[in-house]
Symmetry: C2
Subunit: 287 residues, 2 copies
């Protein structure tokens, strides 16, 4: 996979597996995974990236949550973690290109910085998935992460994907990223929702705000489902929002998190359900 290249000069696609031929006519996709804090966005984003990669997709996974751990969800080994350079650690480059002063809270900055050389330099690759990390707050009182969001937004807007490629953005909890329009380049939002009023309230807020930034396709994935009653609760609450599928509440995933391991292929049927959801997404994008 190559990213951020010009369409007229595509580089060779290197991750092709057995089903490359079937995939070559499939449209590329840019998806943002969003939802209330703690509903399971990062777990889903990680496993979705993995099942796309096993299908031969070239995946660019973007950790856009300053408090998430997509590398862990992707199963990136400890020794490789130190080679990740989050965007927040190239503050001097961001500062230069956004013209923002690092560590200053509430300032003017450019919303269209130059970004086209960034992904190749700062991605790491693991098992056919490229990963880019926005990064975190490095010091208390050091200010907001608005410049990083503006930088990431510009980066995502410049992305050109070929048919066998997918962008999966794991967004920060809640809704401020929608005010910032960080993911306004994507084709669809997948909102992860658990059976609870507050999660549904976040889903509805996201739907409204997503329309404001021009995202028309909003899908739901129900997560942590233990009973048919919980499933019905989500179906009823979603009204006219399409549901892609339901993922089970599975103690094996909690155990995987406790051990710091990837949830991919853990538990009874979580990963299989994500595979089914992935097929639905491909159908929705290609039909």
């Amino acid at each position: 996979m190559t990213i951020l290249r010009k369409r007229e000069n595509p580089l060779t696609y290197k991750n092709n597996k057995s089903n490359y031929k079937e995939l070559k006519d499939v449209l590329p996709m840019k998806i943002a995974i969003t939802g209330k804090g703690g509903v399971g966005k990062t777990t889903f984003a990680g496993v979705l990236s993995k099942v796309l990669a096993e299908d031969g997709y070239g995946v660019l996974a973007v950790d856009a949550d300053p408090d998430a751990n997509l590398p862990m969800a992707l199963g990136i080994p400890e020794e490789k973690l130190s080679s990740i350079t989050p965007l927040s650690e190239i503050k001097d480059i961001i500062a230069k290109r956004t013209e923002a002063v690092p560590g200053v809270f509430g300032q003017m900055f450019k919303l269209n910085p130059k970004v086209d050389d960034i992904p190749e330099k700062y991605c790491i690759e693991h098992d056919g998935i490229k990963l880019l990390v926005m990064g975190t707050v490095k010091a208390g009182g050091s200010g907001c992460i608005c410049p990083e969001h503006a930088f990431l937004r510009a980066l995502m807007q410049h992305l050109l994907l070929t048919p066998q490629e997918a962008l999966i953005m794991d967004m920060e909890a809640g809704i401020e990223h929608l005010g910032r329009a960080t993911a306004d380049c994507v084709d669809a939002f997948i909102v992860v929702a658990e059976p609870g009023q507050r999660s549904i309230q976040t889903l509805k807020t996201i739907k409204k705000l997503a329309l404001d930034i021009g995202i028309q396709k909003i899908f739901v994935v129900g997560n942590k489902i233990r009973t048919n009653e919980e499933k019905s609760f989500i179906i009823n609450a979603c009204e006219n929002i399409s549901i892609l599928g339901f993922l089970p509440y599975d103690a094996a995933l909690i155990e995987a998190d406790r051990q710091g391991k990837t949830p991919f292929n853990k538990g009874e049927c979580y990963t299989d359900e994500v595979r089914a959801i992935k097929d639905k997404i491909l159908n929705l994008i290609n039909n």
Copy 2:
């Protein structure tokens, strides 16, 4: 309870209950509840506010999460919700006082706006608890909520509490509020943690960033505990961070959330455990 008054002219304390006499020598407290998204901050903040109020404390509960629902956790009835004016809806006042232009992303604004008339005007009261809501993102692409954070921070820094009063701030998920130093006025952070690596990682990041903004007292509340093994996991992970107590995983709380009801006095022992934690906090602050 009155808030934001001058110390030399305190108004009468109106929420005194049976144990007022015992409370009058007790120090006031300002606490921020924080942690990874979805660990149960709002549920804990709501129930802690309720148990303080039943002890005769005058409580100011602040919903500082643009995606939370502290009013629901406090059991504020539907018909009262419409009378809440979030800070985000007095944009004109905030704009005037922070000198920020509403809807503009990445701009200069004043970090020390005039705030002393705000709480009395925009608090609502329910069952002895006053509630102030920071508010939410009103439109996609409308910008960040940095001005609201700066305004809230100034507001909190101006708060003067008398001995029988408590400030409970329910912070947004994750760690950006620490970059913004929104809660740098508090005496202590209570970090809610569930048994998982990612929740513990957030706890450790919060501890480090809190020290940067001068908050020395960091306590942990373990939440969603189902087994002794999970309890031990949190004890081992916390190392030298004091643990105030453990709250059970209780399906009754999930059911309360699904029904949009307060978790106070729901489930088997959650609220009792919060009462025990509240006693520990009072001891820690007064000894």
